[in-house]
C-alpha cells in the first residue's frame, strides 16, 4: 500500500511533539539593511501612536517589525534563528512591498516528507541546523511612498493601512503559508510539490494537488469554492472560529434552485436573512440598453427584487433607480467572467435597500427562468469559508489572481482571517492570528502551547502565566512577548520600562484579551525586570 505523505507528516509531527519538546520559542530577527536616514532608519520626528512609543518614523517601523517578530517567535518553536531582511525602498506607485521565503529546501535531515519543498525557516527548524547559513530566511521590503499606521492597538484610522497586520501577514507567508506552484500553468516549482500543497485538496477532482497532473492542477487553480486545506489542525481551528454559513439560495423554479456565490455591496444595508427574500423580476428602463437600469426603472419591481445587468453606469445608480421604483432589493448580474462575484463598489447614503452581485453565468441562468423566488439562509451545520466537511476553503478565483490564488484562505470566510488575500481594517494582528498558526503546524511547524515567558538579559524567562495562545486562536501570550520586547528596546530607565509594559497591559486588559489576574502576573514579571535590569540596554 502506498504510504500517505500526509500520514507520514502527521506521524513526524507526533514524534516531534515528544522528541523535541525542549525546543525553544523561535528567535525571529529582523535585520535592517536600510542606509542611514532611510526606511527603518528614517529620523523624521513623529509622535508616539497607538501604543508604539517610537519618536521617529524609522523607530516606529522598527518597533512594529520587532513586535511582529516577537509574536511569531513566541508562537513557533525553533532552535535555529530566523533572519528576516527588513528594508524600505521607493517602490512603484501602488506597490506597498513584498515578502517571501528566500530559499526552499527538500530532503534535508528529518524532513517530514521526501521530495517536497519546505520554506527554509521551517526546514531549518525541522533539521535543527541552518541549512543555508549566512543567508536571510525571509525577505521583506516595504514602500517609503505609502502612509502606514504604526500603532500596535489595531485602531487604524480610515484610509490608512495597519503596518503590523501587513507584517504579520507577510511573515506568515515567509514562514510557510504559501505554495510554490504556478496556478496559471499548474507547474510545481522545479517539479516538486511543497508542504502546503500536500494538504491542498480539490473536492471536484477528488484529488490532492501532488496527485494531479499539471493540467489537472491548472484546472483546480481556478476551481473557486471547491479547493480546501485538509490539515487537521486548520480544520479543527476553523470549527472554533468560523461563523455559520450564510447562503444565497434560489428556491424556485426547480430548474435553477440551489445556492449561488455572491458579492456584497459597499453601500446600502448589510444582507440579512430578513431583508433579502421574495420574488425576482427583471428591472428594465426605457432608454438605451433596457436591462442596464441606468435610467428610471419602468418595469414593475415594486415589492420585488430587481435583476439588473452590470454595465454603462455605476452600481449605486442602478440600485437607486430600482429603489425609486419600489424594489426591495437588487441583484446585479455580472457582464464578465469572474468567480467569485466581486463586490459592488460605490457610495450613496440615500440607498436603503440591499444589493448583491452574481456571476455572469448565474445571471444568464436567472434571466432564462424568471420569476425566481430567493432567500438568504443561515445554515448552522456549515461554516462560512469552509466546505461541508468543515475544511477551510482556499482562495482559487477564476481567472487566476497571481499571488492571491492558492496561498490564502478564501475571502468569503467570516470573520475575516489574517491570511485572506485582502488585508482589511477588521484584522487585529496584534493578538488575533486565528487559524494561521494551525495551518503552519499542519505543514510542519511545532507550536508553543505553554505560557509566554518574558524577561530581559538579567531576568531570563519569567513565566507570565499567560498562555501563548488561548483556544489556539487568540494569542494573548504572544502579544505580551511582543510588548515586552518593544518596552525593553525603547526604555531609557527602569520605570520607563515598567510604565511601557503597564500601559500595554492596561490596553490588553481593556480589550479583554487578558484578564486582570493575567495582567497582574505580567506586571509581576515586569517588576522583577525593573528590580534587576539596568536601563537603557546596550543596543
Amino acid at each position: 500500500m502506498k504510504k500517505s505523505p500526509r500520514l507520514a507528516l502527521a506521524t513526524a509531527l507526533l514524534v516531534a511533539l515528544t522528541g523535541i519538546s525542549q525546543a525553544n520559542a523561535a528567535d525571529i530577527i529582523p535585520v535592517i539593511t536600510d542606509p542611514a536616514g532611510v526606511g527603518y532608519n528614517d529620523t523624521t520626528p513623529v509622535a508616539p501612536v497607538g501604543g508604539n512609543p517610537g519618536t521617529t518614523r524609522g523607530e516606529q517601523r522598527r518597533i512594529v517589525a520587532q513586535y511582529a517578530a516577537a509574536m511569531w517567535g513566541s508562537v513557533l518553536q525553533s532552535d535555529v534563528p530566523i533572519y528576516v531582511q527588513a528594508r524600505f525602498l521607493s517602490l512603484a506607485a501602488g506597490v506597498l512591498g513584498s515578502a517571501g521565503a528566500t530559499f526552499v529546501n527538500s530532503n534535508y535531515p528529518n524532513a517530514p516528507i521526501a521530495n517536497t519543498w519546505y520554506h527554509t525557516a521551517l526546514a531549518d527548524s525541522r533539521a535543527g541546523v541552518d541549512l543555508v547559513p549566512g543567508s536571510f530566511d525571509i525577505q521583506s521590503q516595504f514602500s517609503t511612498n505609502f502612509t502606514f499606521y504604526y500603532g500596535l492597538d489595531g485602531n487604524t484610522p480610515a484610509g490608512q493601512v495597519n503596518f503590523l497586520d501587513v507584517v504579520m501577514h507577510e511573515y506568515a507567508h515567509g514562514l510557510g503559508f504559501s505554495n510554490f506552484e504556478n496556478e496559471a500553468t499548474g507547474a510545481f516549482f522545479n517539479g516538486l510539490p511543497d508542504a502546503y500543497s500536500w494538504y491542498t485538496y480539490d473536492n471536484t477532482a477528488g484529488k490532492y494537488w501532488p496527485d494531479m497532473t499539471q493540467a489537472e492542477r491548472a484546472t483546480s487553480g481556478v476551481n473557486y469554492g471547491n479547493v480546501v486545506f485538509t490539515g487537521p489542525r486548520a480544520t479543527a481551528g476553523a470549527a472554533l472560529i468560523l461563523d455559520d454559513r450564510r447562503d444565497f439560495r434560489v428556491l424556485a423554479p426547480a430548474a435553477v434552485a440551489g445556492n449561488y456565490a455572491y458579492g456584497t455591496a459597499s453601500f446600502g444595508p448589510p444582507i440579512s436573512t430578513t431583508n433579502f427574500n421574495g420574488e425576482v423580476v427583471l428591472g428594465t428602463d426605457a432608454v438605451g440598453t433596457p436591462g442596464d437600469g441606468c435610467e428610471a426603472i419602468t418595469s414593475n419591481v415594486a415589492g420585488k427584487i430587481a435583476l439588473i445587468d452590470r454595465g454603462t453606469c455605476g452600481f449605486t445608480i442602478k440600485v437607486k433607480n430600482a429603489q425609486d421604483a419600489g424594489a426591495i432589493g437588487v441583484i446585479i448580474a455580472d457582464n464578465a467572467v469572474a468567480n467569485p462575484p466581486p463586490a459592488l463598489g460605490g457610495s450613496d447614503p440615500s440607498i436603503t435597500i440591499p444589493s448583491i452581485r452574481v456571476t455572469q453565468a448565474a445571471g444568464t441562468s436567472f434571466k432564462a427562468n424568471l420569476p425566481l423566488t430567493v432567500t438568504f439562509v443561515i445554515d448552522p451545520t456549515k461554516m462560512q469559508g469552509a466546505d461541508d466537511l468543515g475544511r477551510p476553503r482556499l482562495f482559487m478565483p477564476n481567472p487566476v489572481q497571481s499571488g492571491s490564488s492558492g496561498s490564502h484562505y478564501d475571502a468569503i470566510a467570516e470573520p475575516n482571517l489574517l491570511m485572506e488575500p485582502a488585508i482589511n481594517g477588521s484584522l487585529r494582528g496584534y493578538y488575533n492570528l486565528d487559524i494561521t498558526p494551525a495551518l503552519l503546524a499542519d505543514t510542519g511547524w511545532v507550536l508553543n502551547t505553554g505560557n509566554a515567558k518574558i524577561g530581559s538579559p538579567s531576568v531570563p524567562d519569567c513565566d507570565t502565566g499567560v498562555k501563548v495562545s488561548k483556544d489556539g486562536l487568540l494569542f494573548a501570550g504572544a502579544s505580551v512577548s511582543g510588548l515586552n520586547d518593544v518596552c525593553l528596546i525603547t526604555a531609557q530607565t527602569r520605570m520607563g520600562y515598567y510604565n511601557c509594559v503597564k500601559s500595554g497591559v492596561d490596553r490588553l486588559v481593556g480589550s479583554t484579551l487578558l484578564t486582570s489576574i493575567e495582567g497582574s502576573k505580567v506586571l509581576t514579571c515586569a517588576r522583577r525586570v525593573t528590580d534587576r535590569q539596568v536601563f537603557p540596554l546596550p543596543l
Binding site: 525553544n24 520559542a25 523561535a26 528567535d27 530577527i29 529582523p30 535585520v31 535592517i32 539593511t33 535555529v80 534563528p81 533572519y83 531582511q85 517602490l91 512603484a92 501602488g94 506597490v95 506597498l96 513584498s98 515578502a99 530559499f103 526552499v104 529546501n105 527538500s106 530532503n107 534535508y108 535531515p109 524532513a111 541549512l131 543555508v132 547559513p133 549566512g134 525577505q139 516595504f142 484610509g159 490608512q160 493601512v161 501587513v166 507577510e170 516549482f189 454595465g311 454603462t312 453606469c313 452600481f315 466581486p342 463586490a343 459592488l344 463598489g345 460605490g346 457610495s347 497571481s402 499571488g403 492571491s404 490564502h408 488575500p421 485582502a422 482589511n424 528596546i489 540596554l537 543596543l539
Partner: protein
C-alpha cells in the same frame, strides 16, 4: 556562477562575521533582545559585505543544488514572492491585494460600474 555558489564565496569572505552571528545564536536560547540585536547587526554587516563582494555579480538561479548541510536547496525567485499593492476606491477606502512578482494587479472589481 549560481547564486548559491556565489553565496559560498561570499560566506568565505565574511566567515568571521558569520561566525559572530552563530556565536550570538548560541549565546542563549531563546536569545534576549541584546543578543538578537547583536545577531542582527552581524547579519547586516555580512549582507553589506556580500553586496560589495565581486562574487555577488554572479547570476542568481533557482536551479536546485545540493546543500552542504544536507538535502537540496533552491533560491525562491522574486516572482514567487508575495507583492502587496494598494488600491484606493472612489470612496477613499484602501484595499490591499497581493500578486506574485511586482506586476501590478488588474484594478480590483469592487469598481463603481
Amino acid at each position: 556562477m549560481s547564486k548559491i555558489q556565489s553565496r559560498s564565496a561570499w560566506s568565505l569572505a565574511t566567515l568571521a562575521v558569520t561566525v559572530a552571528v552563530s556565536g550570538a545564536a548560541q549565546a542563549g536560547k531563546p536569545m534576549n533582545v541584546v543578543e538578537k540585536k547583536q545577531a542582527a547587526d552581524a547579519m547586516a554587516r555580512a549582507y553589506f559585505a556580500q553586496q560589495a563582494a565581486p562574487a555577488r555579480k554572479g547570476k542568481a538561479t533557482a536551479t536546485p543544488q545540493l546543500m552542504p548541510k544536507g538535502g537540496t536547496g533552491a533560491e525562491v525567485p522574486d516572482d514567487l514572492h508575495n507583492y502587496l499593492h494598494a488600491q484606493v476606491d472612489a470612496s477613499g477606502k484602501v484595499r490591499i491585494v497581493e500578486t506574485d512578482g511586482p506586476t501590478a494587479p488588474a484594478q480590483h472589481k469592487e469598481e463603481e460600474l
